[in-house]
Symmetry: C2
Subunit: 253 residues, 2 copies
């Protein structure tokens, strides 16, 4: 790789998250870094955009090839406004994370981190989302760093096909290795916690548990993580189930 | 089809939207209808969930086999809380819409309407999202109704494979027919509208235009809509690019 690269970074845990700082540290080894991250935690924001409210953008740091902005929008808004307002040319790479908590399996749909990555991919830039299976604010990101560094290096070297990005998850503790795999099959089963406010009105907090719906398989992100491996899933932005088109053409529509 | 069906409906334009009322009218021909819809417009919410705030749920109507709740959460929250708090057994069908405005092509990623549909699909219920290419609050949904009715009928009759839902868009005016197709390739190019507030601070409104990136193709939703046809795209919830897994295994990871 010749010359300084330009790397755009966002996340969904907010501009002050430790995981973001860790990702910036590695990214700046590869080039100049522009960070646009939510001003507060925006977990679960998926690829949501802000249409009902205006958004604000504020520079919070600029030194040694790292420029950081906080944004009141969603992670996708952060990527979009970076492209429109801050970048002269497309970056070489879009990164998001490192997320505090897993974004494997079905969680790819809800993740604001992966929302930012999908938006980078929609902009036809190679894009990677990184997550660590540890929700704590002081989670230790150092053990996954060699894998993050290598994935950035290999992505810059090989590129990614247009329309595909990467969802990378690391297990707690020191990873035993890395595995390219598919999105595991499962879902979150919600158990809303119903409470009464001081005015005796109901309100609900979302809670629940993950239900694994794969059995005896060894090719999923869940399987990799359970075995202590970093999981790498290539993610499509074309959601079409192409193989079903012919079947549907036989319906009486 | 024997017996009364149970149909769960949501949307992203809010519980008072005309498009929702239109969809309820058709759905109740097929069975009992449970509606849980956002209490206010939540366009662009994708598959976002509400994790930082509690949510509220309020019954606003109950008569003749139609029960309607408003919910302060996202469209996905609406589906999730319906499953956990309101339904004893899985519904036969999850519907969302009818959206005021197109959700074709790349907009499937941002759409709260399609977020609700994807959530229904994650719950392994056949799910369909309906949208009309007309953003106006008083849009005329009547011309697409024969297609909506038939799609509901055919989906109840044929079922859908687990993990696949339908994204249906209708053109303005009387549709000339219907076409099963793929998600068109394109993206929104943002042009944020930068303004000054009364305190001389910057703020931004999201605006932009759709950039079609398909050329000379006749198998996309955009092509169908441009030709006055209703588009039907089967949508996967497994986002894995399976064909890229072997390539990535050759990277030096």
């Amino acid at each position: 790789m010749k010359g300084r690269k330009k790397i755009l970074i966002s996340n969904d845990d907010g501009v002050k998250a430790k995981g973001l700082a860790s990702l910036i540290e590695v990214a700046k080894e590869f080039g100049d870094v522009l960070v646009v991250a939510p001003h507060m935690p925006r977990s679960g924001m998926s690829t949501a955009i802000t249409v009902e409210l205006p958004i604000r953008l504020k520079q919070v740091e600029k030194n040694n090839g790292v420029e950081i902005y906080s944004c009141t929008g969603t992670p996708v808004d952060c990527i979009k406004i970076a492209f429109d307002q801050l970048l002269d040319t497309s970056p070489d790479l879009v990164l998001a994370g490192i997320n505090h908590g897993a974004n494997s399996s079905i969680s790819v749909h809800y993740s604001g981190t992966m929302g930012a990555v999908i938006e980078g991919c929609i902009h036809e830039v190679p894009s990677i989302g990184f997550s660590l299976c540890d929700y704590r604010p002081d989670a230790d990101f150092s053990l996954m760093m060699p894998f993050v560094r290598n994935l950035i290096h290999e992505t810059l070297r090989n590129g990614l096909p247009t329309g595909t990005c990467l969802n990378v998850n690391a297990p707690e503790g020191k990873p035993k290795g890395i595995m390219v795999c598919r999105q595991g099959h499962g879902r979150w089963v919600e158990e809303f916690d119903a409470r009464k406010d001081p005015h005796n009105r109901n309100y609900y907090w979302i809670t629940g548990y993950y239900k694994n719906m794969d059995n005896g398989v060894d090719d999923t992100d869940n399987h990799a993580l359970a075995g202590g491996l970093v999981s790498v899933v290539p993610i499509n932005i074309d959601l079409t189930n192409h193989s079903l088109i012919d079947t549907l053409k036989n319906w009486e529509l």
